[in-house]
Symmetry: C2
């Protein structure tokens, strides 16, 4: 996150008085969440996360995100539950910006996922996709195949400073993906950003998904593709087929994967890799002095993309 | 803080097993503390702060800091209490760096201190100076008058890019301060960094001082000078004599101020302003891309220094 919004004591007191959550005993900015300002809010009753939505999140999307968390929590899916104010509203304003309080999900994120963590992720992702069914609001994926070209146009000029020839390689990949991208696959609500820091574990048991601020309607298998990239590569760049198999096998027990979803997986994984390559590239080339988060290496995702280009069938992901 | 140290789950589990503090349920980096990596560690028993000491803090100073917090906490002064491991040690290692766990001090820091907050600050500061008596370890102030010239030499070249003529003005001030700096005043353990973000209040009652990582032995009145600068100026740069009077009056009830301390206060306040001007100037001129904290305006402290240059007696601070 670039900058924290400064909250005065008076603003905080007035804001919290709009809820029935007890009396504030601590309030600290936390160094997580790239898009918003997040604070750990402790009251004499419980812990909460207070989020102030900064400009990178579109205000008109907030009812979708909060409504989705409400919908999933109602179906006992483990995720932050929006706290509604005394007037019934979950989406409120603080320091002139949209803000919300959600329940605190206990747990730690795993820096080095094991195959067992990946299996639990697969189970929970399948459960989330099933639980998302029936959620009435819609939000298009703002970072899917049609959006990559304009995003690339904004960082094309600097791409070759990261690696010689990168601009041409990306342009070529973009063309291929646009032509081959599936037109119809089973769709629904996806998380779209299930990196390890958004999945918490308590005693090595998955305790919840967090950070639903990229959630949208898209192919369900695209969520799996994001996870394959984020969870199944080792630090040295090697793909770990054991982790992929654990993730996919567990997922399929919750929601069977259709033949066309399996067939599309390598392509979706290339697309998912390109999506994170492009946003990382943009952040890399547009670093803000004093920003709170260090930019991540875009080339990590270029190497992952190469792996999926070489995949010829689901066997590469550990499936029969 | 520049960068967080990444802690793996295994490292954390092993580390916490060295204490009798219960079972970890949450662990989050917090966006406070410029010198170290700070994490909020929640167990099933209580909340704690886990600090990893980064290179900006000298390892040989850590026993002083932790010993001081132990000493003050033993005397019922409200501050973080170091948690000792099962082997009795408070200072340990995590991820190859020195680390410690301290108790969590509830409360919020006040963004807009009132005269009442300043009075409570004065009372607590006086209490801390009295409670510090008898602490056997010593640590010289590493940022006092003799240290300012070498620090200035490292940022002199860039000073005029911040404001034309600033380098000459600082050089002149340094010479004056060095000549006039008191040789003997009542001394003891000082906090040396009592900005509002290091003083917590719960329901508008002071609940504790935190962040003792600049504490040292020096003139006690120098701590007051730091507070005058950090608490008694308004956002528009005006000095608030009501706040200064409240702070000093409350302090004197805990520890009387000698005539020579009162007489030295304007000079100490100029020195305290120069100390923060110089470190801010250094940080301003040496910004690290991706750093977690935005540099603060050095000139704010140049303007405060000018105010104290015009002070002719304690009446300017609201004292008779």
């Amino acid at each position: 996150m670039a900058v924290y919004t400064e909250i005065t004591d008076d603003e905080l007191t007035t804001f919290v008085a709009g809820y029935d959550i007890g009396h504030v005993v601590s309030f600290k900015g936390i160094a997580e969440g790239v898009e918003n300002s997040n604070y750990l809010l402790q009251t004499d009753r419980a812990n909460f996360i207070l989020t102030i939505y900064e400009k990178r999140v579109a205000e008109q999307d907030l009812p979708f995100f909060l409504g989705l968390m409400d919908h999933l929590a109602d179906r006992a899916f483990p995720c932050p539950t929006p706290i509604h104010g005394r007037d019934g509203d979950a989406l409120r304003r603080l320091a002139g910006k949209p803000a919300a309080i959600v329940s605190f999900v206990e747990g730690l994120w795993v820096r080095r996922p094991t195959p067992d963590h990946c299996a639990q992720l697969g189970t929970a992702l399948g459960m989330m996709h099933v639980a998302g069914d029936g959620f009435s609001q819609q939000r298009a994926n703002a970072l899917t195949v049609a959006d990559w070209r304009p995003l690339f146009d904004r960082c094309k000029a600097g791409a070759d400073t990261v690696e010689a020839g990168l601009a041409d390689s990306i342009a070529h990949e973009l063309t291929e993906l646009k032509q081959a991208w599936p037109r119809a696959l089973p769709s629904g609500v996806i998380h779209a950003d299930l990196f390890p820091d958004n999945v918490l574990f308590l005693d090595n048991k998955l305790s919840g998904f967090i950070d639903f601020y990229f959630a949208c309607n898209d192919f369900l298998a695209y969520d799996i593709a994001v996870c394959l990239n984020a969870w199944c590569f080792e630090a040295d760049g090697a793909f770990n087929i054991t982790k992929a198999k654990a993730l996919l096998t567990a997922y399929r027990r919750q929601r069977p994967l259709a033949e066309e979803e399996l067939a599309a997986l390598p392509l979706l994984a290339r697309g998912a890799a390109l999506r994170f390559l492009l946003t990382r590239l943009y952040d890399w080339l547009n670093q803000v002095p004093g920003a709170l988060v260090q930019p991540k290496d875009p080339l990590e995702y270029w190497r992952k993309l190469q792996f999926h280009r070489g995949v010829t069938g689901p066997g590469a992901y550990g499936l029969d």
